[in-house]
């Protein structure tokens, strides 16, 4: 069994696992860190962004590079449609991938890069919410980028990266970066997904069984149990043990794995999501009461549902409930609608509401009461008439490189009464804001990441007791941001050996299968005659016709007409020579001459022209073609040996 690591971002994982001749991709996350090196896309031309000065490396005068790079403060940005770093395609040919397992909707943004135009012919499995909400994220991304077409694509800069200032010079493999896919690829790619339910046993080409188990992180999020009759591999992706809206994490099915692959732990190891949510509420309250607006860059699904619920309550408490919340995304309406029809994937508290029947999330009620208003874009019909300040705006994209958030920063950036609150943990907020600086707007950083932190992860490992634990190398060292916090690692575990891996590596996993399974038909079982060779251990020979269908091995009884229908037995133990000689003479063979040579005893039967060679574990009868004699000796040998 081998594991290939194709993504350098453990929070946007992409692996290949080869196991029993099956090539399986585990997640296909798309790293978006590359975005931060690009200028924001604005659908209303922005004076500020357009007028940024060009930047050239000091000793370069390449005219092709002219205009590709822009400078703001101490940062340099690429003026081009943004590019993304897809999973590594050098280690494996994607047309060879048999199966893709998707853990959650945040780990599938690279799917069109894998399945379209690569000759991919395999199957893709995901839960229903992962497919439906994943579709929203993919479509939103494509709409955001396509609505701001750029006239030119910058490419020369990639040859001068080493001469660029930080952080552009440290960008990861920029030559492998690609333009985003189009809507056609998105639809084609998603149409390959087969929807599965939690704890549904999915047969993979008769070789393996895979089962998604609830992971507690978001609607439909799953961990995967990959097993045969004798082996169990668990792939643990984004998981959460906190109580939010999704179904709780299922620990039971992950226990006692031979191999546990663990990835996608928290991106905010130092802060705790509850206190961050508290800070967020305070910041929003203060800002609104001071007459300022709150801008919350976010994804159109996920934690944002909890924010609607929590903030609306808090705003009522603080007496600012007359301030509306706006949710702006090309998929806002669908996201709100879908979240309320996925009851079977929710926590039991939310699930019980639909039995009344009430909507599981309060945002349907907030929409009905005009507390929450949703629009596809800020230029959509009705937005300008409904828009009222002060207010809270939720919109994408959290990288601040595209989406309506770009317009809101233009609108509110120069007023210190306003506040931008970063709640999504995917992007460094300082880098996200860099192209817009200088800004007057207040900045609050309250990243809410409900994924497992290191304490929770270590506790989970102790509980799950895998024989081998496989984790990204970076989890075995303290985070770069806090090198002194040595407790922020996956520690050593008495019962598990740890194997670290990193981008571009192929590692061998210790899984040596020793056993398989066959099925006996009853008449095969009936013919079993156990012989106890030692207390508690019995042996019996078994012979049958083997039928193999879909990798299931059935043993049937030989039909009676078969000439091979005989019972093969095996002899064991040592032969007692005294007893043997006695029996020989009883049968009238009295001329045996015993000779001992080393460990070998040879009995010569001179009259009969035969020779019997005896060793501890073997007997060899050598004679002429006299079958009467041979049969006689054979019977005696058999009487002196034990059989099973």
């Amino acid at each position: 069994m081998k594991l290939y690591c194709l993504s350098n971002d453990p929070n946007k994982p992409c692996h290949i696992l080869t196991f029993r001749e099956i090539t399986m991709m585990l997640d296909c996350g798309l790293s978006m860190q590359s975005l931060l090196n690009f200028l924001p896309l604005s659908f209303v031309p922005s004076n500020k962004l357009m007028n940024l000065p060009n930047w050239m490396p000091s000793d370069t005068t390449d005219p092709d590079l002219e205009g590709e790079l822009k400078e703001n403060g101490d940062r340099v940005f690429v003026d081009s449609p943004p590019e993304f770093c897809p999973p590594l395609d050098k280690l494996i040919d994607f047309s060879r991938v048999d199966v893709i397992l998707i853990s959650n909707y945040l780990c599938m943004m690279a799917l069109p890069f894998i399945t379209e135009g690569t000759g991919f012919k395999g199957r893709v499995y995901a839960t229903e919410p992962t497919l439906q909400i994943g579709r929203l994220l993919l479509e939103e991304l494509v709409v955001y980028i396509e609505q701001c077409p750029k006239s030119s694509f910058a490419s020369q800069w990639k040859n001068f990266v080493h001469k660029c200032p930080y952080p552009l010079n440290e960008s990861f493999k920029p030559k492998s970066w690609r333009q985003i896919y189009n809507m056609k690829d998105v639809n084609a790619s998603l149409s390959r997904i087969q929807m599965v339910g939690y704890n549904e046993k999915i047969d993979v080409y008769g070789a393996l069984q895979v089962i998604p188990a609830s992971s507690g992180l978001c609607l439909g999020s799953a961990n995967w149990v990959i097993s045969t009759e004798h082996e169990k591999v668990v792939y643990l992706s984004g998981s959460s043990t906190l109580t939010t809206h999704p179904r709780p994490m299922d620990h039971q099915s992950l226990k006692n794995a031979d191999v546990l692959i663990m990835t996608d732990l928290t991106q905010t190891p130092i802060s705790n999501p509850d206190s961050m949510l508290g800070v967020l509420c305070v910041v929003v309250g203060l800002t609104l009461r001071g007459g300022g607006n709150v801008l919350i860059p976010c994804y159109p699904t996920g934690v944002v549902y909890d924010l609607f619920e929590c903030l609306s309550g808090k705003m009522a408490e603080l007496g600012v409930s007359n301030c509306p919340m706006f949710f702006v995304s090309p998929v806002a309406d669908i996201s709100l609608a879908y979240s309320n029809i996925l009851a079977e994937w929710l926590s039991s508290v939310k699930q019980n509401k639909v039995y009344v029947p009430d909507e599981p999330f309060p945002h349907a009620m907030l929409v009905k009461n005009n507390k929450l208003k949703h629009f596809k874009h800020i230029y959509s019909d009705g937005f300008s008439t409904d828009f009222q300040e002060p207010c809270v705006v939720f919109c994408g994209h959290p990288s601040l490189r595209y989406g309506d958030v770009v317009q809101f920063i233009e609108l509110w950036g120069n007023n210190p009464r306003n506040c931008i609150v970063f709640t999504e943990p995917d992007f460094d907020y300082i880098e996200a804001l860099a192209p817009y600086q200088p800004l007057q707007i207040k900045v609050a950083h309250c990243a809410i990441d409900t994924s497992l932190n290191f304490t929770q992860a270590n506790k989970l490992i102790k509980d799950l007791k895998p024989k081998t634990l496989v984790v990204p190398e970076c989890y075995t060292q303290p985070p770069v941001s806090a090198p002194n916090l040595t407790e922020l690692v996956i520690g050593t575990h008495a019962e598990s050996s740890v194997i670290p891996y990193k981008w571009g590596e192929v590692i061998n996993l210790p899984l040596k299968r020793k056993q398989g399974q066959v099925y006996f038909e009853p008449n095969v079982a009936q013919k079993i005659i156990p012989v106890e060779v030692k207390p508690g251990i019995s042996l019996s020979t078994v012979t049958g016709t083997l039928n193999v269908k879909d990798n299931v091995h059935n043993i049937q009884d030989f039909s009676s007409e078969s000439k091979t229908d005989k019972l093969v037995k095996y002899e064991w133990g040592t032969l007692n020579i005294t007893e043997f000689m006695q029996k020989l003479s009883q049968e009238g063979v009295t001329d045996g001459k015993v000779e001992s040579l080393g460990g070998v005893v040879v009995i010569h039967l001179q009259d009969e022209d035969a020779l019997i060679q005896l060793e501890d574990n073997s007997t060899h009868v050598v004679c002429n073609a006299d079958e009467n004699l041979r049969t006689k000796i054979r019977n005696i040998v058999m009487q002196c040996l034990k059989k099973f």
């Binding site: 599965v196 339910g197 704890n199 549904e200 089962i211 009759e229 004798h230 029809i341 996925l342 079977e344 699930q351 029947p357 909507e359 020793k514 056993q515 399974q517 066959v518 099925y519 006996f520 038909e521 009853p522 079982a525 079993i528 030692k534 508690g536 251990i537 019995s538 042996l539 019996s540 020979t541 078994v542 012979t543 049958g544 016709t545 083997l546 091995h553 059935n554 000439k563 091979t564 005989k566 093969v568 037995k569 095996y570 002899e571 064991w572 032969l575 574990n617 073997s618 007997t619 060899h620 009868v621 050598v622 004679c623 002429n624 073609a625 079958e627 041979r630 054979r634 040998v637 058999m638």
Partner: protein
């Protein structure tokens, strides 16, 4: 226990009161727990005393409910709270949401309107529902360490499911009610090739091959339209959830298209609530509704308004949907009594009616209906039967059998005579056993048992290697030979040497070598070749290979020695005791050679 036993307590050669007992692998499972709508006495509920006198918890491992129709779940609170059952009850999420509402509805009609005694209370419905475990489609649920269940989509009504049940190596599929063609709001039933030992299928429409859905719909709309055109009133008795939503969608779009003005009423406070369920469980409806639900909710009706009892006597045309669907009680019956005597009016029965109900009577052409209080109602209104009920027809049932490839079929929930027809058809077409037990009668289905045994991989691999090295021959059988090592906690099949090692004993190999003297001039190699040809001819089923001067017949070795210029040759035949039969046979062949 290799047998599967099925005993219907209801729905055996009968429609209504579905309740089956399934026994396999030492486990007892109750499939559905329905009531019979045609009776007001103890025949209403299944006869649970068949299981035990008193509480049945000790005798039943779990209860599975297929869908929310009362003929499948109506006796549930009676069984769990009044007979006594505290074990788990499984059903899908929509069924869990909707069943208690229908139960409460039915309780009210029975107790408050009909004054029935000894009926379950509202609290009992609540207590019963606390025992329910909701399941999701395709999720594998372990009831205990031995029973595994899995739900499949059944169409029929919102949340209806077929259940696959496995105990040990035996498996059963219970369909509940299902339909194999998608309709206006539900998809078609689906199951994979799960090859159960037994398929228990409903057979409501066992002999019908229904005409195309479109024709039936057109027919229905035409009749309604004609009736309101002549100023008549149309009564459509329905159950609150299910067919009602489909017919509403149908009339709504027709009214819109034809610009009709006659009012359509839906006589139930439940409508909005009912539609809310459809909204929230939209994932259980069909593809089209799922796709468009964000833009337009199919269940917000513009033309259909709430009904008030006072409207019964209103003049002029109208269309009224009223519950219950079989005209056995409640508002639909009340309206029927008023409207039946007028020949301008029409009643459309969109579903199946059980025996004993008014619906059943008028569908059979009764021109007068007599009620408990001697009231006689003349039926002059047009009576139309429209089969919209989403059950599988004969074709659909055959399709399902084809899909899941069962080893046996058992028919329930249908009329005896029709079942017999279908039974013969199934036996003919699929050559599999088909059962249709009556209530209280037990069908015993014997199944082949397969015993899972661990096997060492080297043994399997050695066999596979040997098999693939041979020339392909479709007639050749694969043989697996090994030694079963049985220890206290494990049993494993392995190769003999591995087995001896595992058991900690040493094998004793007994070998025989016999020498035959024969006369054959020429090099010994030539003699060997001749021998090989001969053995090939005499032993056509064995592999005879010549290599490095030796002939091997399977594992028996034959070797020729002697000088090339000597006529005398020694032929050695050597084999182990395990090849005694073959070895002595070869020796015999060689001994008997007189001349090549």
């Amino acid at each position: 226990m290799p047998d599967i036993k099925v005993t219907p307590l209801g729905a055996g050669q009968d429609v209504g009161r579905s309740c089956l007992l399934l026994s396999m692998g030492g486990k007892n499972i109750m499939l559905d727990c329905g009531m019979h709508m045609g009776y007001n006495d103890e025949r209403r509920f299944p006869d649970f005393s068949y299981i035990a006198d008193g509480p049945i918890t000790a005798f039943i491992d779990c209860v599975i409910i297929s869908h929310f129709h009362l003929d499948h779940c109506g006796a549930l609170p009676f069984m769990s709270e009044m007979i006594g059952y505290s074990g788990p009850i499984y059903m899908t999420h929509p069924t869990k949401a909707i069943a208690p509402i229908l139960l409460e509805d039915m309780r009210k009609v029975s107790v408050e309107k009909k004054g029935e005694q000894n009926f379950f209370t509202s609290q009992m419905i609540k207590d019963c529902m606390k025992k329910v475990v909701a399941v999701t489609l395709h999720q594998s649920v372990m009831v205990d360490t031995d029973i595994e269940i899995k739900a499949y989509y059944a169409g029929h009504v919102l949340g209806a499911a077929m259940f696959w049940i496995k105990v040990g190596n035996q498996s059963v599929v219970y369909t509940g009610d299902y339909n194999m063609t998608p309709d206006r709001h539900l998809g078609a039933a689906w199951i994979d090739k799960c090859r159960p030992d037994l398929l228990i299928s409903e057979s409501t429409y066992a002999t019908t091959i229904r005409d195309s859905k479109r024709c039936r719909e057109k027919d229905f709309l035409k009749k309604v339209h004609e009736c309101v055109d002549r100023g008549g009133k149309v009564l459509i008795p329905v159950f609150a959830l299910g067919r009602a939503q489909e017919l509403c969608i149908l009339l709504e779009t027709y009214w819109e298209r034809m610009n009709l003005k006659a009012p359509i009423y839906f006589a139930l406070g439940l409508t909005e609530k009912a539609n809310n369920y459809y909204k929230m469980f939209i994932t259980w409806t069909n593809q089209k509704i799922r796709k468009t639900f964000v833009q337009r909710n199919m269940f917000d009706f513009k033309h259909i308004k709430a009904f008030d009892r006072q409207y019964i006597d209103n003049p002029g045309p109208m269309v009224v949907f009223a519950t219950p669907g079989m005209l056995h009680a409640g508002l639909s019956l009340q309206i029927f009594k008023k409207w039946a005597p007028n020949e301008n009016n029409m009643i459309i029965m969109p579903g199946f009616c059980v025996q004993g109900t008014v619906g059943h009577k008028i569908l059979n052409g009764a021109k007068k209906v007599e009620f408990e209080n001697r009231q006689v109602v003349e039926v002059k209104m047009a009576v139309e039967y429209m089969s919209f009920s989403a059950h599988a027809d004969a074709k659909g049932i055959m399709q399902l059998i084809q899909h899941c490839e069962p080893r046996n079929v058992l028919l329930v929930h249908g009329e005896a005579a029709k079942m017999q027809f279908l039974k013969e058809k199934i036996q003919q077409e699929f050559s599999i056993e088909c059962f249709n037990p009556a209530n209280g009668e037990t069908s015993v289905i014997s199944t082949p048992v397969k015993i899972p045994i661990d096997v060492s991989l080297p043994l399997l691999k050695a066999e596979a290697k040997k098999f693939s090295s041979l020339a392909p021959d479709p007639k050749r059988r694969r043989t697996l030979h090994g030694v079963l090592v049985m220890k206290e906690n494990s049993t494993c099949l392995m190769d003999v040497d591995e087995a001896c090692k595992e058991a900690g004993i040493s094998r004793h190999v007994v070998r025989f070598t016999s020498t035959v003297q024969m006369t054959d001039a020429g090099p010994s190699l030539t003699t060997a070749h001749k021998l090989q040809m001969l053995l090939k001819e005499k032993l056509p089923l064995s592999s005879v290979i010549f290599s490095e001067g030796e002939i091997s017949v399977e594992t028996v070795l034959v070797k020729v020695e002697g000088d090339d210029d000597d006529d005398q040759k020694s032929v050695y035949v050597s084999w182990t005791n395990q090849d005694e039969e073959l070895g002595s046979q070869i020796l015999n062949v060689i001994t008997n050679i007189k001349q090549f």
